[in-house]
């Protein structure tokens, strides 16, 4: 055993020690960023969307870009915890808790945007199907309603998934904790005592959660992609979108996990638990998804260029590559295709610094990708008379950066409350290795 149970618990408990000023500074920074974004949004509520740069034809812009971006980020968590769980990928154990926390907070962020971008947000509840005096329901044919269902389901399920995973660890922490932490972990432990009976149900149930979550992950970003694919706008209307979006989501998500883990393992002294091997595995995932995304770009462009010159589809893609937004397009290609392909080289992949930079740029690139899809297509619709270029206003930028503030605010708090690695599963691995919970030879 490389590392004893006590040592493990100690390291984890250590992450919950009273944080230094650095932490609170970060928290303050994140909080105020979120606050500023919130204030910017309050302007929109009070004065109207004319404070944005949106126009006709550009009905959607930064806000929707952010929405898609955060939904993308939210994907890695469940991917790592659920899909890799089903695939029995060993390296998952050490990192999935952080990923799951990230998921939950990312969905919390993404979920705000559908409301933010409404003209009359005070009627947002009309988007939910509830019996009402007027006897009028929602339009289930609308992709936006699919979003409502997909996002809320995803949020609930991944939260449950996270908390269920936490329960045994909470029990472990509970027994040595004092004061409010004791109360908290007693609550989270959910009466956990670790008897064979509990484990019997737990392992089974966990398997089901994974089984539910897996198709959900795939569905959610497919649904988001349909917001575009279902429309008839050149540049949106494409059958390629679902796989393309899912791959992109995983790319950005995993990249975000890396970006977060690298400083985290230093700061929380988790080097022993989250080893370079783990990062290596994650970076392979980045390479894979980046290749899929690259392929999607190529396909899109190739198919559109196959069209006759006057075809709007083709025109839109030519516009993307050579028009007003071309610089963003090429930046996107550099960050999402060129950057990750460098990770094919072992030396680069194993250099933590390089990995960090590349992953960071991937996140920028993925934001740009969504911006490209949303904005350039709208700016270049079928009637040339109505072509017009959108550019975001400071309010929209404030809300974009605010969203990062909001996300990291919750994430920082989460780190101090929840164990950043799954103690139980680590123990199991330490004790035996090969197995994750649930995979147990049953007598029956």
């Amino acid at each position: 055993m490389s590392l004893s149970f006590e040592r493990l618990e100690e390291t984890v408990r250590a992450t919950h020690r009273r944080p230094g000023p650095g932490y609170f500074l970060l928290l303050l920074l994140a909080g105020s960023l979120a606050g500023f974004g919130g204030w910017a949004y309050s302007l929109i509520v009070r004065k109207g969307l004319y404070l944005t740069g949106l126009e006709r034809p550009g009905g959607w812009g930064n806000l929707i870009t952010d929405f898609v971006f955060w939904v993308g980020i939210a994907h890695s968590g469940t991917l790592i915890s659920a899909i890799l769980f089903l695939f029995r990928a060993k390296f998952r154990t050490a990192v999935y808790r952080v990923a799951e926390m990230m998921t939950v907070f990312a969905v919390m962020t993404a979920g705000l945007y559908p409301i933010f971008h409404l003209g009359r947000p005070w009627f947002a509840y009309w988007l939910f199907p509830y019996p009402n005096d007027r006897g009028i329901w929602v339009n289930f044919r609308s992709p936006l309603i699919w979003d409502v269902f997909a996002i809320s389901t995803y949020f609930i399920v991944s939260t449950v998934f996270l908390l269920v995973g936490v329960a045994p660890d909470a029990a472990a922490l509970r027994d040595k904790a004092t004061g409010w932490r004791k109360k908290l972990y007693t609550l989270l432990a959910f009466g956990w005592r670790g008897t064979d009976e509990q484990w019997r149900h737990y392992t089974r149930a966990y398997l089901f959660f994974a089984a539910f979550a897996t198709p959900l992950v795939v569905s959610v970003h497919s649904v988001v992609s349909w917001d575009f694919a279902v429309s008839i706008l050149p540049g949106w209307h494409s059958t390629l979108f679902p796989p393309y979006f899912v791959a992109g989501a995983i790319l950005s998500g995993v990249a975000m996990v890396i970006v977060i883990l690298i400083p985290l393992r230093k700061w929380l002294h988790l080097e022993e638990i989250i080893t370079p091997t783990h990062l290596d595995m994650l970076s392979r995932l980045v390479v894979l998804t980046s290749l899929i995304v690259t392929y999607s770009y190529a396909t899109e462009i190739a198919t559109s260029l196959a069209e006759p010159v006057a075809d709007p589809e083709r025109s839109t893609f030519v516009f993307r590559m050579t028009g007003h937004y071309a610089p963003l397009f090429w930046l996107m290609v550099t960050f999402n295709c060129v950057g990750p392909s460098l990770l094919l080289i072992g030396r680069v992949r194993r250099s933590i610094r390089a990995l960090f930079v590349i992953s960071l740029l991937v996140n920028v690139g993925m934001w740009l990708e969504r911006f490209n899809i949303v904005v350039t297509s709208l700016a270049h619709d079928r009637l040339p008379f109505m072509w017009r270029n959108y550019s975001p206003s400071w309010v929209e930028w404030a809300m974009t950066f605010g969203s990062f503030g909001w996300f990291f605010f919750w994430f920082l708090i989460g780190l101090k409350l929840l164990p950043p690695v799954s103690i139980a599963e680590m123990k199991e691995e330490l004790a035996h290795g090969a197995h994750g919970p649930g995979e147990v030879a049953h007598a029956s």
Partner: protein, 113 residues
């Protein structure tokens, strides 16, 4: 107002309800001097609703169906909620009788333009 007075001026006083008679009498001078009366508004549909009495009256909807037994009221009050759901249950019921002909009764544009 003028129309009402057309009769009220001449009908003989109502012995049972002297109060009412007094009320009516009180209105006479106002009419004479032509100053305005500010009535308190009781029934009101929101501005986003297009409502005409014409169609409802011609459609054979009795006043009481919406306004209640006004003739029994000492002080007028709103008896029906005047909510969309309330309008609809009547509209839908009517529509059920002659679906083809009254299709518009459940069309949003009938009341919202």
């Amino acid at each position: 107002m003028a129309r009402c007075q057309g009769c009220h001026r001449f009908v003989k006083e109502d012995k049972e309800k002297p109060a009412v008679t007094a009320e009516i009498k009180a209105l006479l001078p106002i009419l004479a001097e032509g100053s305005v009366i500010e009535w308190k508004r009781v029934h009101r549909v929101p501005d986003l609703v297009y409502f005409t009495h014409e169609r409802h009256v011609l459609g054979g909807v009795g006043c009481q169906e919406c306004h209640g037994d006004v003739d029994q009221m000492e002080v007028l009050r709103q008896v029906s909620p005047l909510t969309m759901g309330w309008c609809l249950q009547c509209h839908k019921a009517k529509q059920a009788q002659r679906p083809a002909e009254l299709a518009k009764l459940s069309d949003c544009l009938t009341c919202h333009k």
